[in-house]
């Protein structure tokens, strides 16, 4: 049942602080992982009905009363749901061991679950205002999670993140208000129909600009990105993975493109603006990543750069481009989740994240080094890993759309990406072994397990790229590409 994606995490989160009093570790660990595993299973079970029906609209009545709990699920949402469930399960597995030295596991898991509930809700609701609301649910939880360590860096990063995203979501809500004013409705379907009848190009243009700022800040598009390189590295590693892997994509990319495709309708102007923004992010952040000494900060900048790729792909507007963007979204979620978790392993093992202090770890911690290599190469777009295919599809789509300039920049940026990922590899794992690290041990079981699972996904998706792409990504891309028509069909 689709509704469980929102209710179960919220319920578990609500009882978690109480259970935390009884058992500090075991029950929160088991319960959280069980809940997330259930969600993953649930999302897999939903695949078949979605393929058969195309989309599911559920209206739920509550205690016999007819209430408006409408959930709309098409291949695009399902794709996002699956990504969220998969990555968050790996992250919570990782947390079992990682959170040992933070303490307060119950509280941590509760916040994590609220954030997941927020993201699931954001993905499922077909309503503009509800999108905003669930965005805030996930955001409030993420502010607290970024600051969870209560260190100086964490607090500073969290404060900046909060202040910037509060402004951004205010603008997004303002834009929703204007659309609400014009169409007198908030439901995707009605709004889409209303906007088709109205001819309000300029107003829609301004609304779009507000959306781009509001959701673009969540997605960390340059120049709205400045909070990310502070917030993501400061958070505990699982949260960095969560933020970089999922939150920026769900509350930024998903929300923006859902509204653009399914409500406003994609136009060439929007496509142009978004492609330019995506490209700027891609290039600027890649250069910034090159200069970093902190692994996590480098990864954070790389997230901005890769979100640039995703936005570039989605903004092309052709089915191939959307498919490439979505595929890259998935690959990046998995690989960046992996890399951030891995950086957590490194920090756990050595106590530092500074690339200049690390070196020659590869011999001592083969699992961590190997999974890091897989993740890095996947994001850098090296075959036969998953990231290569998605970048290739994006570049092909750009060429197909006759956007040679963008294709060229995308190619050059991917060389830059390769460059800084090789930098991590060389400094951290290969090269001269720093004497300090001659007695280190491999990361604990669950941390390594989470890394290995995600690395395997990177490899398997790369090798079985065809079935994955055909059965999984293409339908989602088609659902999105049909856009406004698809949404207007929902009610019928």
């Amino acid at each position: 049942m689709v509704f469980s994606f929102i209710v179960i995490p919220l319920l578990v989160a609500a009882i978690m602080p109480l259970l935390g009093k009884i058992s500090k570790k075991l029950i929160p660990d088991v319960l959280t992982n069980a809940a997330l595993a259930f969600l993953l299973l649930n999302s897999i079970l939903l695949i078949k009905p979605i393929f058969n029906q195309g989309s599911i609209i559920q209206n739920i009545s509550w205690m016999g009363e007819k209430v408006n709990l409408q959930i709309a699920l098409d291949s695009f949402n399902l794709f996002m749901l699956f990504t969220i469930s998969l990555v968050s399960l790996a992250i919570s597995l990782f947390s079992i061991d990682y959170l040992e030295h933070y303490g307060h596991k119950a509280n941590f898991y509760a916040l994590l679950l609220v954030m997941i509930a927020g993201m699931n809700g954001l993905v499922l609701v077909p309503d503009l205002f509800s999108i905003y609301l669930f965005l805030e649910v996930a955001a409030v939880a993420s502010y607290a999670l970024v600051a969870f360590g209560l260190g100086y860096d964490e607090l500073e990063a969290s404060f900046k993140y909060l202040m910037l995203s509060a402004v951004a979501s205010a603008f997004a809500l303002l834009s929703i208000t204007i659309i609400f004013g014009m169409t007198s409705s908030l439901n995707f379907q009605d709004v889409a129909r209303g906007l088709q009848d109205l001819s309000a190009r300029y107003v829609i243009g301004v609304c779009l600009a507000f959306f781009i700022m509001g959701f673009g800040l969540k997605a960390a598009l340059v120049p709205f990105h400045a909070w990310l390189p502070d917030a993501h590295p400061s958070a505990p590693a699982p949260i960095s993975a969560m933020l970089s892997g999922l939150l920026i994509k769900v509350s930024g990319v998903y929300a923006l493109f859902r509204i653009i495709y399914s409500v406003i309708g994609m136009t060439p102007v929007m496509s142009q603006v978004l492609m330019a923004l995506g490209t700027i992010s891609m290039v600027v952040a890649a250069f910034l990543a090159l200069g970093q000494k902190d692994i996590k900060r480098m990864l954070a900048y790389s997230s901005i750069s890769q979100v640039g790729y995703i936005v570039l792909g989605l903004a092309i507007g052709t089915p191939l481009g959307i498919a490439g963007g979505l595929f890259h979204l998935f690959n990046h979620a998995v690989a960046k989740g992996l890399l951030f978790l891995n950086s957590g392993s490194i920090q756990h093992i050595t106590g530092t994240r500074n690339l200049e202090e690390l070196g020659g770890l590869g011999k001592r911690v083969p699992l961590t080094a190997g999974t890091n290599l897989v993740g890095s190469l996947s994001i850098a777009g090296v075959p036969p890993l998953a990231g290569f295919w998605s970048k290739l599809v994006i570049i092909m789509a750009l060429i197909q759309a006759k956007q040679m300039g963008y294709a060229l920049i995308a190619i050059l940026a991917s060389i830059l990406t390769l460059w800084y990922y090789l930098l991590i590899q060389r400094r951290a794992f290969f090269g001269q072994m720093n004497e300090k690290w001659s007695h280190i041990k491999e990361a604990p079981f669950w941390m390594s397990a989470a890394n290995v699972i995600l690395a395997l996904i990177c490899i398997l998706v790369g090798i079985f790229f065809t079935p994955v792409f055909k059965t999984w990504i293409s339908p989602a891309a088609e659902a999105l590409a049909r856009g406004v028509q698809q949404v207007m069909m929902w009610g019928i």
Partner: protein
Amino acid sequence: MTAMTLLWPIIFPAAVAILFFLIPTRVRFVREVLAVISSTVLLYLGFALFSLKELSLTTNWLGMGINFDLRLYHFSAFILLALSGFLFLICLYSTVKMKDHPRVREYYGYVFLAAAFSNGAVLSNNFILLIFFWEALLITTYALVTIGLKPTSHRTAVKSLIIGGFCDFSMILGIGLLWASTGTLTMNQVHVEPHGLAVAAFILMMIGAIGKAGAMPFHTWIPDAALDAPVTFMAFMPASFEKLLGIYLLARISLDFFQLKVGSSMAMVLMIIGAATIVLAVFMALIQKDFKKLLSFHAISQVGYMILGIGTAIPIGIAGGIFHMINHAMYKTGLFLSSGSVEHRAGTTELKKLGGLAREMPWTAFGFSVCALAISGVWPLNGFVSKEMVFHGALETGYPIFAIAAWVGAIFTFASFLKAGHSVFFGPRSTEIPKTKESEAPIVLPILILAALCITFGVYNKLPLQNFIQPILSGQAEAQGSLDLTTHALNLFNPVAGVSILCLIIALGIHFYGWNRGGKKAYLASEPIHQLIGLKQLYNLSEARFFDLYEQGVKFLQWLARILFQFIDRPIDFIYEKVITAIGRSLTGLLQKAHNGQYANYLAWTIGGLLVVIWIILQLLR
């Protein structure tokens, strides 16, 4: 045999590679046996597939014209056979040479992985598939260079990756352009008249192909790798596999996809690149002091002949280019392997320290000599035949300048190999090296096999030319033109061959002139005296003069070579190392400075960004 057989050359080595990764490093023997057996199987597979000639496998894959499409025909079968042959020889050689290497486990894994990817690249009949295998080869190259375990290995590996990455990505762009203009991704359906957008596609794809083959200016990592990577890698990748693949693709591009016309601007581009590569790289080879580095510059120089041959767009030239490709792979692999044999026994490859090893290592010396004569184009070895064909082709285009460049290249190729052979195997026995003996059979055998092949392909040149090369060109001949490529293969009595032989004589003259004038006596006599105090300075002086005199005949050329080295080769390195890196760094610094951590600053960007976006959207809507 069913079409599924085509999957074997890809899946089998990949599976073997995985097996290699799984075998622990401590287990010895098994690895070597497995390598030899599985490469033998591959060789058999190569022969079996070669006998089939025509086979294709098409599976619907991604839709949108992206199919899993493998196609075996005479050209790809020929390359496939050659690849598996070289793989076999190198495996045989590695059993001894790489036995005690600390990373031997990964070495074999990557070698077989590279073989799998190369086979895939040769067989693929769909551009996307080709890109996949082509790109994947970068990784194996990268990994194999790092296996050198020298301090600078990693740097060189990154260099190869970046340069290779650039070439590959430009190829992707070229393929994209081609796709945009033809609408198909199936390789044997693409035939384009080269004009308009297709010219750009051609140039971009050509960069991809010649970048893989290692032509100028994408060569700079190869000489570095000669010192930093294992010598088996040099024989494996830059000498044989990458040449075969790069030239194969170049031939496909210029014969199938674009149908190059004689004297067209694109053909000229190719010929200029070819000629420049021949001349510039050979000058650099001349002044090298290290055996392997010298060979690596020749590996670059010889690519020039192939590109020049294909660039002529005349059947005999193209055939010469392709024939030169296979010949080059043979003798250059042989040369690298013999340098490895020397390194194996003598422990060094510096020319200064080596000398007179022929007595102790007769088989290696013999193999080296045959290969060196072949690369220099001495009658009746295979190098002579293919170079003659390229000369003829170059002359027939009506631009004799290219033939002259090729001849100049031939002179100095021979001169530098005389120098190398003379100082390594012949001449006085070097005292710096302890007494040694011939390398083990698995090392010598591949060298001798290659030397024998060099002789066979030279003397019985009808065999390869009619069996391998002619079918490839069958579509290229003019309606009436005969396609007998063997007409002037070994003919000594025509003006072109005359000039070539004259070139060889000049080279011989240059060498012996220099050797006789300065060094002969001093070089022979000086070794025992070298140890005496007082005479040391004198010796040093004479040694300095020796080098001075040796190069006196080519003083001008040496100067020229230096200049070229400084101004042609180095700038490319300079651009790679200094300009790109520096620009990147300063841009990074600037951007990093902008992120000063102040909240107001970040908010200002956000608000500014919003205003700019609004403004742009309103402008665009107008």
